[in-house]
C-alpha cells in the first residue's frame, strides 16, 4: 500500500508544484493520473522514489516512510519501486540483456555488475520476462537498434526485474505511436494482474486512461481534484481538470470513447 499524506514540493522559493497532496493506493489496482502539462503529475511520481526531493509531507510504502531515507536505505527502498519512463531511458550502447539486468544492480555485487556475471536465477527471470513481453530474441541486440515499442518493453522488463512492490510509469506511451501505445498500456494492465502489482501511470491520453486503468486521478495546479472510477469521469470533470489548457480539446476523445 502506498500512502501519501500532505505532500508539498516547491522548487527553489517559487510557488509549490504540489500543494498538500493526499493519495492512497491499495492492493493491485492500476491507477492513472491525468492532468494538463505542469499540473505536477511527473513531480508527484518522482517524489515517490525520491528522484525529486519532496519539500514536506509523508510517503509511506508498505510501512516504510520514504521521505526520510538516506544513502543505503534509500537505495534499498528504490529497489522496491520500479519506474518506466517516457523516453525509455535505456542505455543505448548496452545490449538488451544488460539493460534488463541493470534493474538488478541494487541486488548484485559490484564485481558481478562490472564483469557481467549475472546470477543464474536473474538470467532465467530476465528471459522469462522478455519472452512474456515479446523481446526475448533481442537479448544480444544493442538497445538503440530497437523500435520505440520494443524499447519501452525493455524499460518495463528492467523495472520488473527489480521485483518491485509498486510500478511507476511516467508518460510511458507519450513517445510512441497510437497502436504501440495501446499495446504497452495493455501490457502494463495485464502484468499488474499477473504479478499482483499496483501500478501508477501518468498519462496524457484520457481515452487510454479510461480503457486500461481501474481508477483515474485528475490533477490540476498541484492538487488532486478528481479521484474515482473511469466511468465517473464525465464531461464536467474533464472540464474541471483541463479547462483553459490546450488539453481542453480532449473532450473530443471523451465523446468518442463514450
Amino acid at each position: 500500500m502506498l500512502k501519501i499524506t500532505d505532500l508539498v514540493k516547491s522548487y527553489g522559493g517559487g510557488a509549490p508544484v504540489l500543494k498538500n497532496l493526499d493519495l492512497t493506493i491499495e492492493g493491485e489496482s492500476v491507477v492513472s493520473i491525468i492532468g494538463s502539462s505542469g499540473a505536477g503529475k511527473s513531480t508527484l511520481l518522482r517524489c515517490i522514489n525520491r528522484l525529486v526531493e519532496p519539500t514536506s509531507g509523508s510517503i509511506v510504502l508498505n510501512g516504510t516512510e520514504l521521505t526520510s531515507l538516506k544513502g543505503r536505505q534509500l537505495r534499498a527502498a528504490r529497489r522496491k519501486i520500479g519506474m518506466v519512463f517516457q523516453g525509455f531511458n535505456l542505455v543505448d550502447r548496452l545490449t538488451v540483456m544488460e539493460n534488463v539486468q541493470s534493474g538488478r544492480l541494487g541486488y548484485i555485487s559490484t564485481w558481478a555488475a562490472i564483469m557481467r556475471r549475472y546470477p543464474k536465477e536473474d538470467i532465467r527471470r530476465a528471459y522469462e520476462l522478455m519472452e512474456r513481453v515479446g523481446i526475448a530474441q533481442y537479448a544480444n541486440t544493442r538497445a538503440d537498434q530497437l523500435s520505440g515499442g520494443e524499447r519501452q518493453r525493455v524499460g518495463v522488463v528492467r523495472a520488473l526485474m527489480q521485483e518491485p512492490e509498486i510500478l511507476l510509469a511516467d508518460e510511458p506511451t507519450a513517445s510512441l505511436d497510437p497502436k504501440t501505445s495501446e499495446q504497452i498500456m495493455g501490457l502494463l494492465r495485464d502484468l499488474a494482474g499477473e504479478l499482483k502489482l499496483p501500478v501508477l501511470i501518468n498519462i496524457h491520453n484520457v481515452t487510454e486512461a479510461r480503457k486500461y486503468t481501474d481508477r483515474i486521478v485528475g490533477m490540476r495546479f498541484g492538487r488532486i481534484i478528481f479521484d474515482d472510477l473511469p466511468d465517473a469521469l464525465d464531461e464536467e470533470a474533464m472540464e474541471r481538470i483541463y479547462s483553459g489548457s490546450p488539453h481542453a480539446d480532449r473532450g473530443g476523445d471523451l465523446r468518442e470513447a463514450s
Partner: protein, 269 residues
Amino acid sequence: MTGISEQFGREDWSRHTPKEKARRFGIFAVCALAVFWALGSIEIIWAWVWDSPSQMADLFGRMYPPDTSNLGSILRVLWETVNIATFATALAVIVSLPVAYIAAQNTTPNRGTLWLGRLILVSSRSVNTIIWALLFVAIFGPGIVAGVVAIMFRSIGFIGKLLGEAIEEIDTRPVEALEATGASRFKVIAYAIVPQVMPTFWAVAILRWDINLRESTVLGLVGAGGIGIILQGAIDTFNWPEAATVLLAILALVVLGEIVSAFLRRRIL
C-alpha cells in the same frame, strides 16, 4: 520600419540595417588595422623575402635525389618513434581517466577535486610538448624516456579535457533510471556513464595517438629520442639528401598513421 518603407517605396532593399552595417564595417576595420600594424612593424628583412622563392628552390634542389644509404637506421629509429607515441598515448589514457572523472562537473566528488582536475588539465595543455621535453631531458637525460614522459604529460590534458566534456554532455536520463533502480553510485557510473563515453574515449585516444605520432617526430630536436635526432644531424651537417629521405620517411609514417587510425575508428565506432 514599415513607415519608412512606405515613404521611400519598395524598390530599395538592403540586407543589413545601418547599425548592422556600421558594426560589420567596424569589425572589418579592426581586422584590417591589425594586419597593417603587423605588416608595418614586423622586423622582416624584405630583401630576404623577395629572395626566398629562389632560396627555397635551391634548398629543394639540393635535397634531390634523396640519399637512401642510411635507410636501415632511419627505419629503425622510425620504429622507435612509433613506440614512443604509442606507449606514451597508452600511459596518458590510463592516467587521464581519473583526471577526467574529477574534472567533469557532474561526476566530481566535490569543489576541491573539480578545481584540482581543472588545474591538472590546464597546466598539462598549456605547456607544449617541446617545452615538456626540454624539462624531462634535463631530468631523465637525453633519450626516449624523456620523450615518452613529455608526450604523456601533454596528452593527459588533451584526453582528460575531451573526456571530461563527454562526461558532462551525457544523456542524464539513463542515469536517472538507474538511480531509480536503487543502484549504487559506482554501478550507475559503470552502467550508465561508461557506455555513453566509450565511443568518445576510443575516438579521443585514437586521435591523440595520431597527433602524438607527429609530435614524436620532433622530440629528437631537443634530445628526447625518435627520428628528430637524425633529421637534426642531417640538417646540421648540410646533408640535405639524407634530410630529404628522413622527411619522406616522416611523411610516410604520418600518412600510414592516419590510415591506421581511420581503420581503427571505423572498426571500433
